[in-house]
Symmetry: C2
């Protein structure tokens, strides 16, 4: 069975295949590997230049409102953004700050008065800006950030103020060097009354690049990675902006200071606002997928030429990817990356349809999208960090050299698990939503139903209702139905048992925090199990859509490896709750090993199918492909010349 990479690439490229190809073409111009020894100042300047190059491609404007010269193609622009992950991740993040966060906030939280004045220069990259939400003291708990925007009816102005060091805006991209304006999130106060967090458009630098009066700009300095992005800090000392600076799509203040909003409930208004910003989170998840694909392409291609230790029988040295433990390191991670790629593509597609211009708002759909985005971002970025680390180790000493690109991939993506929502906090968010949906489901049962459910649950037969037991007892773990059954059973079981435990918190006088805290680890695995299952479903559906039998067959094996390695990782759960017997658990491990062996010959095809432009992978790590075996790892030969020794001693 031979499958062409191109056939698989069509599957992976999906709905925005043309956009992907367009960006692939542009990568040649944009994708470069900055000298890792470059100073932070130079790297920042270089990244800004690249940002302007990117603006000139006209790509970024495609995400904005057609009424202002945009393309209205939200899905396309998020897809294009993720493709930058094959190149320099500092550019990806800087672009995300400028057009996704800053521009996106002006678009969705602002109204015509802001759009008319600012959208065009933002799209063109003439007006660079910041998204000033995070504070030193409040990263995850945004609802309680402490910067204030107090309305003064006398002057029709807002006064932006930083009351204490902890309220300083922190880790703000574009702040340390380039930003001229910032969308500042602050507690809106008018008539002595607070109305919760709102966003205002605040100038932070004049045209000469000097900080505006009352604004103190700090520099976060050198970071683990992404040093092409100028992260900084903003402190406001009673800075005054006109009333019109308020991005007033969700709430407004009249000249006399009267506050009005279409959403009466403050908390609901806050979460509605956050919801409009879901695109940023989805974009990070996309960048994590492409970065992981790049790392796997490097490690697997190296593993196909790198030889170590001889086969006693033949005396010939063995290609490292022929070792089972090496396959175990890379192939399940590759299968999971395929699954994440497809689940991410669905997420982008659904977001695109939900936010399509003129589309009537679908609150339920939006809520589902936000939950899925949180889950996929958390699971996907953790997968990226772990996989890129594994790829580095799988390339040994060569993987530690900057010339071989893996160090930057690791360092740049490391913060993905933290920004746009800390992963642990995001999974708690997912768990909360699942619990309330679950409560509603149970709530709908009549008394008898509730009683039976409780009984079933105590008897550990909670999934009887789903009719899965039979499959689980008799099915072959290599069958998709059995795999899905196991994933669903785990999800249902963990959710039901978490609900049981949380119910205690509803009792009068219960130690709510204590109960929540004791259940916290349980909630996280429940959320994780949910994400694993929806990712499986997304991948399975994509496999079924493939027309070519050979390609469908190969992808079905990849799906199987994803499912079985996921089940194997948590096999303790399945045995503990007798969804698997020890014997069947062993069968899972054997099946994973068998799939590793079966997919080994297709490993190169599977990474080529990502369609990563070759210049993005250019590194001495792959010289072995030329030399046919003896991979020479390290900087290009030119650096070997004696000229290089001028610097010595």
């Amino acid at each position: 069975m031979t499958v062409e990479p191109r056939t698989l690439q069509r599957v992976l490229d999906g709905r925005w295949a043309e956009v992907r190809d367009e960006v692939r073409g542009q990568m040649g111009e944009l994708a470069f590997h900055p000298d890792p020894d470059m100073s932070t100042a130079d790297y920042r300047a270089l990244t800004t230049d690249n940002l302007r190059l990117l603006a000139r491609t006209g790509r970024p404007r495609q995400g904005f409102d057609p009424a202002y010269g945009g393309g209205g193609d939200v899905g396309g622009v998020v897809t294009a953004f993720a493709m930058l992950g094959y190149g320099d991740l500092s550019l990806l993040v800087k672009a995300g700050v400028q057009w996704g966060l800053f521009g996106g906030a002006v678009q969705v939280l602002g109204t015509s008065r802001h759009h008319d004045e600012y959208l065009k220069p933002i799209m063109d990259g003439e007006l660079l800006g910041c998204f000033a939400m995070t504070e030193t003291g409040h990263g995850s708990d945004v609802q309680h950030l402490r910067t204030t925007a107090t309305y003064d009816p006398a002057t029709h102005e807002f006064e932006i103020h930083t009351p204490d060091p902890g309220s300083r805006k922190d880790y703000i991209g574009n702040a340390a060097r380039d930003g001229r304006m910032a969308v500042v999130f602050a507690q809106l106060v008018t008539g002595g009354e607070s109305h919760g967090v709102h966003a205002l458009l605040v100038p932070i630098r004049d045209e000469a690049g000097n900080a505006m009066p009352g604004v103190t700009i700090g520099d976060c300095g050198h970071k683990a990675g992404l040093n092409g992005v100028d992260n900084g800090r903003l402190t406001f000392d009673r800075v005054r902006v006109p009333r019109e600076a308020l991005l007033n799509a969700l709430g407004d203040v009249a000249e006399d200071g009267t506050y009005t909003s279409s959403i009466a409930n403050e908390t609901r208004r806050f979460f509605t606002m956050l919801g409009t910003l879901v695109r940023g989170r989805i974009s990070v998840a996309g960048g994590a997928v492409t970065a992981t694909e790049k790392a796997l392409a490097l490690a697997i291609r190296y593993g196909e030429t790198r030889r170590q230790f001889a086969d006693p029988a033949t005396g010939e040295e063995v290609v490292v990817l022929d070792y089972l433990v090496h396959q175990r390191k890379l192939l399940p991670a590759l299968a999971t990356t395929y699954a994440m790629h497809v689940a991410q593509a669905d997420l982008v597609s659904d977001m695109h349809d939900l936010q399509a211009p003129g589309r009537t708002p679908d609150e339920r759909g939006q809520r589902e999208l936000e939950t899925r985005a949180a889950g996929i971002k958390a699971v996907g970025t953790w997968h990226a960090t772990a996989t890129i680390q594994t790829c580095r180790e799988a390339c040994g000493g060569a993987g530690y050299l900057s010339a071989n690109l893996l160090p930057q991939l690791k360092a740049d993506t490391d913060v993905f698990t933290t920004f746009e929502g800390d992963n642990t906090v995001l999974l708690q968010l997912v768990a909360k939503t699942l619990l309330s949906d679950y409560g509603r489901r149970i709530g709908k049962l009549d008394l008898v139903g509730k009683a039976r459910f409780a009984a079933d649950f105590v008897a550990g037969t909670v999934v009887e209702r789903t009719g899965l037991r039979a499959v689980l007892r008799r099915g072959d773990v290599r069958d998709r139905a059995c795999q899905r059954g196991l994933l669903v059973a785990r999800e249902e079981h963990l959710l039901a048992s978490a609900a049981q435990r949380m119910r205690k918190a509803l009792a009068p006088g219960a130690d709510q925090f204590g109960i929540f805290n004791d259940t916290q680890d349980h909630l996280l695995v429940a959320a994780r199990a949910h994400v694993d299952r929806i990712v499986f479903d997304a991948f399975a559906a994509a496999v079924d859509r493939v027309a070519e039998p050979a390609a469908r067959g190969l992808l079905a094996q990849v799906l199987g490896l994803y499912a079985l390695s996921t089940i194997e990782e948590d096999r303790a759960f399945f045995i503990e709750h007798s969804y698997l017997t020890p014997r069947r658990a062993k069968a899972v491990t054997q099946a994973v090993n068998a799939l590793c062996r079966q997919l080994r010959p297709h490993a190169r095809t599977l990474v080529d199918a990502f369609g990563i432009p070759e210049p993005c992978l250019a590194s001495p790590l792959l010289d072995g492909e030329r030399d046919g075996g003896a991979a020479v790892s390290g900087p290009s030969p030119s650096r070997e010349e004696p000229t290089d020794l001028a610097s010595v001693g």
Copy 2:
């Protein structure tokens, strides 16, 4: 129960407490945090200056032969070396290359003719050198490296030659900038006959720092971390050195070219040579422990001041270390670090006694030491990489800023899992030794014994003999006896079953490579289980030696958390092989959570007990300890001044 950090520190400091205190005093002078934005060239120069400072302390010479002005204190010098892990890891690695690898090889592989001429300048840091073993094409498989040293009886010289690009010496510390000589490992050929890998002392640069004729020196360039170390490449084009350049402790060549060695068997000679170099591996394991301790001290102290989200009952924001999931991230890792610290101290102590001057060689003891060193290096460095990563994430965005030290810790230690023996290869080495010891044990049984053993094993009752079943069935998982029983049972079971599978390879005409490859993952877990058990035993013994009841009690809890979190991680195994029932497996998880809660109040004491000099931890991350709560994360306030904006726009 309150315990003073100092009391615990005495336990951790152990046999070389004075050496540790001496180095703590010197850290003030040495431990600095180089500007992360410094160029590689400047960082290398700075590290060389620090190396010379270090030489002046007289510390490094303590490891060498007293006959040459050394202190003969091998254990003390390895302990002192590890302490450098609290400071700049580039200095630690550069010192390891100079005195551990280069100097160590001259000491143990050379004889008086080398010692007389070179030991003093090496100890004083006047003669900087390289340890040129690894080749581009042969990293792990050292026995088959391809550089040749061919003896020419006509001129009484060896000709050192690099036959092909894959035989180039690669990743060689001290090579790119500072090294004047190199201990070069090459296949020794005399009279047309090869005698395997030997080491020769080869000049690579003249006093002016220019490469010697026939030597081409390359630069590995920028790396993920450790950029203060000048890693380079060496290529030899028929370079001639006198016969005396051969480090001839284990094998020698007479003027007429006759080869002689006290060890007839070539393979045995090779492994004896590697064995003499075990110190390097043990030193890396020590550096991994101190680096992990530094990361945990930073993350736990931050976790005690950082607040996020309010307790609904009190309305007060909660310190993040009070969250169960945060404790789960850091406290089991802290317990494991305590265990590794103690196991490492025992390893160093045993090495010291084995290699004490005048001590008659103990081959069995040496072999045991090498196996333990391989296992502890692999498990300890993987633990370091994972824990430092977790600490970075546990500090959120603040953990990503270089000013807060975690990024350098992560980047610098990342290669520890690769150098001084790739971890995967090392664990295979451990497994091989365990298997042959095991074979000998079984071999000693009479036929009936063999038969019963086989039967027992098939019945899955292999550990009956050890009389553990009873403990395992009835014991409380919180009891140490039960914990040890589980760890021993796992070790025995995995080893016995691996032996069963490997036995097939002995059959005539068996596909040896195929069988080995299919069993590879099994062998690795067996080795891992063995290391977990010996680390447990080392820690348990240390706890029992503690006199103060309160301290002993606290450390017993730490031991319990180490054991139970280790068991929990692999609980699938214990249930699969019915060493634990699902109910008891849950009890393990509950016990881990309970211990996290019990140890939470002692977390600060436990990290203070490492006795890390405060300057080594100085970072904005800990400002919250001053401000009492609102941790200000990022560069020091001075960087906030408008002066900083000069660079802007």
